[in-house]
């Protein structure tokens, strides 16, 4: 079986009706991130801004369990940070970097994201035609869940 890897870029914007500080806190908080990342079952801290994650991710009938690392870097609250992801599972692997920039707009926040990913293994070889659409769908799910999390997080950061 031929194993390939495929580079892709993904970018977009998403508006959230909440102050920038609140949004920035939400997307850098591991407890909120764990609920927003589609299929993320656990996100456990291993080091400063470094986490190990398990995800049961997929689209429709195609689902797989992925284990990986997530690291947050270059954190400039409340405007910018970078997320580095490295995950592997039976369907393949994903290595990527995503940059998030937050801007204030009309009392809300615009999140501009751009990411580069290397996708490899079976999903890259056989599923290449769906990778872009799948990535967009998962990104959309992430932001939709984030929107629902924001009102809860406005109560303030939770320290356990």
């Amino acid at each position: 079986m031929v194993l390939t890897s495929h580079f892709m870029k993904i970018e977009g914007t998403h508006e959230i009706q909440a102050p920038r500080e609140v949004v920035y806190h939400a997307i850098t908080d591991p407890q909120i991130l764990q609920r927003c990342i589609p299929g993320c079952q656990s996100l456990d801290k291993t080091d400063e801004n470094t986490y190990v994650a398990t995800m049961k991710a997929g689209v429709g009938s195609v689902k797989g369990t992925f284990k990986g690392n997530v690291r947050l870097e270059d954190m400039q609250a409340p405007t910018h940070y970078r997320m580095i992801v490295d995950g592997k599972g039976a369907p393949g692997f994903v290595k990527g970097t995503g940059i998030f920039n937050l801007e204030e707009r009309n009392g809300g926040t615009t999140i501009a994201y751009e990411g580069e990913m290397k996708v490899g293994g079976v999903i890259a070889g056989v599923g290449q035609r769906m990778i872009e659409a799948a990535a967009k769908m998962l990104a959309h799910q992430f932001f939709k869940t984030l929107e629902n999390e924001i009102p809860r997080s406005e109560a303030g950061p939770v320290n356990l």
Partner: protein, 289 residues
Amino acid sequence: MIPAQFDYVRANTIDEALALLAQNEDAKILAGGHSLLPAMKLRLAMPSLLVDIGRIKDLAYIREENGGIVIGAATTHYQIESSDLLKTICPLLPQCAGHIGDMQVRIKGTIGGSVAHADPAGDWPAAIVALNAEMIIASKSGERSVKADDFFVDLMTTALEAGEILREIRVNKSTGRTGQAYVKMHHPASGFAVVGVAADLSLTGDGKCERASIGITGVAAKAFRPDGVESALNGATLNDETIASAASHAADGIEINGDLFASADYRRHLAQVYTQRAISAALRSVPPA
């Protein structure tokens, strides 16, 4: 590769199948297996239990009922392709079926299974949305009906909830001066639709377009009806110019798939060209006044 380990059970009735799904979170329905099994062999899908409904006799049928057409979800693509009844009262369906995969796939694969799998490049969704079909869904709490436009939700995602089974598909008979066609650009290796367009037209007494219904697959994350094309055609006199002009709206406002074979820009162009061809072919198939 071979599939990961799984259990297999053959359900004798839909109710049995529903009960099995309810007991097993990781179970999947098996009908023809020609979407699911290839995914399982690659380990892209790893259900722990397959519930086989492919042999349930009263799930495969094509008949007229209550003034319309009802098709059992386990009806094979081949049964639809070769149905003399459908060739007369809804030729879009046999035409579309004939474009699916190859003969081996068409003999085993089912319309219900294919539609529930909702591959963004599958052929059925284009016809299903163009015909404004009604999807009958069975669950332990009874049955519900979902319109085609609401059935395809996102990439490989339908309105089917966990534990539900698509049981029947209902479409209207084509009456009056109607013409239908399905045209497709086959991917040279996989045969999937790079672009597939279904057109269902009805003409007025004086030859104008009374109603146009178009379904496009392969272009976006799910099949869709291009509003811009339909509204340009409704009420218009159909000739090469008006058809080309209408077809130019095929991908308006749509997030277009791009992949190694066809970039988003190329696909937009293909959508316009194939929409034009589908409308022209449907027009040619309208019986003379």
